[in-house]
Symmetry: C2
Amino acid sequence: MAEELPPSEKLSAMALADGPPIDLEPSAERTRIRSVLAADDMIALAGKKIVVGGWVRTGREQGKGSFAFLELNDGSCLANLQVIVDSAVHPLALLTPTGTSVVVEGVLKRPPEGVKQSLELRAERILEVGPCDPGKYPLPKTRLTLEFLRDWVHLRARTNTISAVARIRDELAYATHTFFRENGFRYIHTPIVTTSDCEGAGEMFQVTTLFSDTEKVERELKENPPPSESDIESAKHIVKEKGEAVANLKSIKAKKEEITASVAELTKAKENLSRLEERFKLKPGIPKKDGKIDYGQDFFGRQAFLTVSGQLQVETYACALGNVYTFGPTFRAEHSHTSRHLAEFWMVEPEIAFANLEDDMNCAENYVKFLCQWLLDHCQEDMEFMAKIYDKTAIERLKLVSSSPFVKISYTKAVELLINVTEKKFENPVSWGIDLASEHERYLTEVIFKKPVIVYNYPKGIKAFYMRLNDDGKTVAAMDVLVPKVGELIGGSQREERLEVLQQRILDAGLPLEPYEWYLELRRFGTVKHSGFGLGFERMILFATGLDNIRDVIPFPRYPGRADL
Amino acid sequence: MAEELPPSEKLSAMALADGPPIDLEPSAERTRIRSVLAADDMIALAGKKIVVGGWVRTGREQGKGSFAFLELNDGSCLANLQVIVDSAVHPLALLTPTGTSVVVEGVLKRPPEGVKQSLELRAERILEVGPCDPGKYPLPKTRLTLEFLRDWVHLRARTNTISAVARIRDELAYATHTFFRENGFRYIHTPIVTTSDCEGAGEMFQVTTLFSDTEKVERELKENPPPSESDIESAKHIVKEKGEAVANLKSIKAKKEEITASVAELTKAKENLSRLEERFKLKPGIPKKDGKIDYGQDFFGRQAFLTVSGQLQVETYACALGNVYTFGPTFRAEHSHTSRHLAEFWMVEPEIAFANLEDDMNCAENYVKFLCQWLLDHCQEDMEFMAKIYDKTAIERLKLVSSSPFVKISYTKAVELLINVTEKKFENPVSWGIDLASEHERYLTEVIFKKPVIVYNYPKGIKAFYMRLNDDGKTVAAMDVLVPKVGELIGGSQREERLEVLQQRILDAGLPLEPYEWYLELRRFGTVKHSGFGLGFERMILFATGLDNIRDVIPFPRYPGRADL
């Protein structure tokens, strides 16, 4: 390849392209603790020399300060690796405080018999230390409440619970992609910034640059006051004069250079005028038009919002690629302070062409079962921790859901069942037409059936306009998947594919047709039956882990008054 | 399980829980066209009866209207399945318009010899048709420009190019998750709404509910004017009177019922007063405090923005779990109309604990190679289409990048090389200290080395505060991966892990320390070396496909003045 270089560069390029860069510090290969402690034949690793890096969970000096035990965690798994450091290797007091980071080179050894650890590391060299002042570190080794940890979102992943949740969340995300891929779905990135409102209602966050643009203008006006009307007038006058001068020179057939110079002056005068006129228009405050905020001047030239669902947009890809799904953040600006609501949360939304409601329910059932089985197969250690500390039934629940067929009953029959309940008095009375409350949903799945239940064919009055109207004219082809512990986990429907019916449903919902014109065109041109659903990803994690508060299962929770980092 | 039901529900629950729901329309199992045309032994499928669904790309009647050929595409692959429909099976004119959707049951046959299709479908029944009026359909079968298609984002996935891009994008996303999983990384969902500004500069979108809250207040005030000061005064007076009445009754030891009634009146009066006082505070317009917008009244109680990068947040998880990555949408409110910029785009950002710049470069190189190899292994048909229509070198480029070691040179040496270039005059003159422009980057990778180049150790003055200061005091441990066709594909760095150095770098950048306190705490408590990088996902797709405009490689492009759907 050197032949093709320009001659002058041949030498240097040759020298540079060969071999590793020598001015970089070499890196020690780090062994993840998981690959030791979860090795198929761990004992075979005894005698190996490795480098590990992690944070000290607990450290204690022993033998009158002659050596120390460090419980080292690197986040690759829940378990700590026990490291034994001799005082000759490193000053022990610098290593033992909880939160200290260390990179250690050592040899894996089998501990004395009767000790529960199966391998421990005898330190030979401490390569690096990141100290941690125990007087200042906010996460001492004592058990901390989850509520306390919410004030330390930048450090809380260093705890057992939050790191286990992070690993479970990662596994569920990967399982999601794997499930849909195995079933022929394509992942579509639907937009976060949207000018459509999926539900036709909903509290949405607005996305804007009007505040910063206004600030910029106001700052500019302060530093450099706008021109007055008379400034404009005199600039206009100069343009007129310069124009006349050009015309005059032309009429007397002056020298070319003279005309050119005169034209240049005219151009300059015109530019100055238009700059002044531009600045004359600048006004402090949010731009208004006809007394209302002028969103025409906002970044997107209109009002824009954060998406509440990618469904409507992903339908456009279902009506082209067949099976698709979206998996991304969605937003609700609800002033809701419950343990089940976030302002920013993740949703999985598959959309299936040529599929009716039954296909949709089957897909939802298979997906949820797949997730549960995945956790049983890939997250044993973290799930056992969750079961031990938070919810004894967590693993049983995964096994139940992954193995038993979901019950499928119509809304009408579900209401019949609930009306006949005598042993419990519901806070919200049950009658046909109501939206089932969480207490009803949980009673169906936890008490009556004791397994997941899919309720389908809901009254049209309580469901969104895009759900397919059934032949009875009263219900729509909607379905909700209810599971023990959280109630509604999934909501879905067959979508209305008939143009005229959909138009009427939009109007009946009190919505204008115009913003949905693109959505209607999917029905106008080669319409197909299609169905889909949405799974609240954090709800799935609550269901899996048995945790109670949604703020603990997302890395950086957002809710009214709070958006740390 | 029926035994555990309350007696009254036993029967109905039994009846409902058994068997499939009978009031649902049964679904036909659809075969995806890909599973026919990409079958390992396609010819073995001849004679099979299947149901397919898709959209007619071209249809033509033959044999004087006795039968029709339909080129049917279902988005599962680029190729169409040829369907032959006899006029006795269905009126042909309803099937042939481009854009029509059909669900067909038929038998797979080998076509007459010499015809290129390897299997075709003889239709036996047309199960469903979604008509498409050729006079109105905006996407006729003639070749349409990509620019034209940008006005039809809800339909454009029905074209060869955009559907191929969607499949390639999906494959790259899955390859990303696979690569990081195989290398022990955990996927972390960093927040979209943020109160931190990663780069310390950057044009950010603001997220707010102030406009809608203000509108609500103004509407409310119009319908129901606020109380006057005298309304408040008289309400206060009533409270005083009622209070005195209670005190009086108590002092004369009145009957308990009388006191209770009087207290109730007092309570009512107080409630009325506080309601009036609350409404008295309502003012039209965006809420202000000390002449400035009062973001304390916004949803999050402070100014909030759309993220420009998940890096700072994902560092908190790297400093707990070790190897992590984030993959999600990021935003820039730049008024940039180029073919390389979007207001909303996706980024992949790994962050690696205990890793220095060389580890970072190796990870980036392995990742890019993995993506290229993945496309060669999984996207042959779509890549051949791209190579044929858009960029003859697309497949060669993937092979080159996946197989050749990346060149690694320092910024200083790269500048030396560029200064010595004589055969080309750069628009931007080169000297040590400048930020390399796209022309320089592309010259390095396309002309000098003809393969991917990693440039590292940049002058500190042109890079962000969080990049690790090298011992020379002049450069930082930053690196950019440059590839042919797009130039910079990846930017990354080792992060400054030394508390005091980082504090000084923040101050030197003219930034306040306070908002970065949480970021500094990662260094204060158990700091570790760590490194990471960001890959612009759309740039990777441009690189892979050879397409020129970034608006064509994301399903719903957002840029100044435009946010369709």
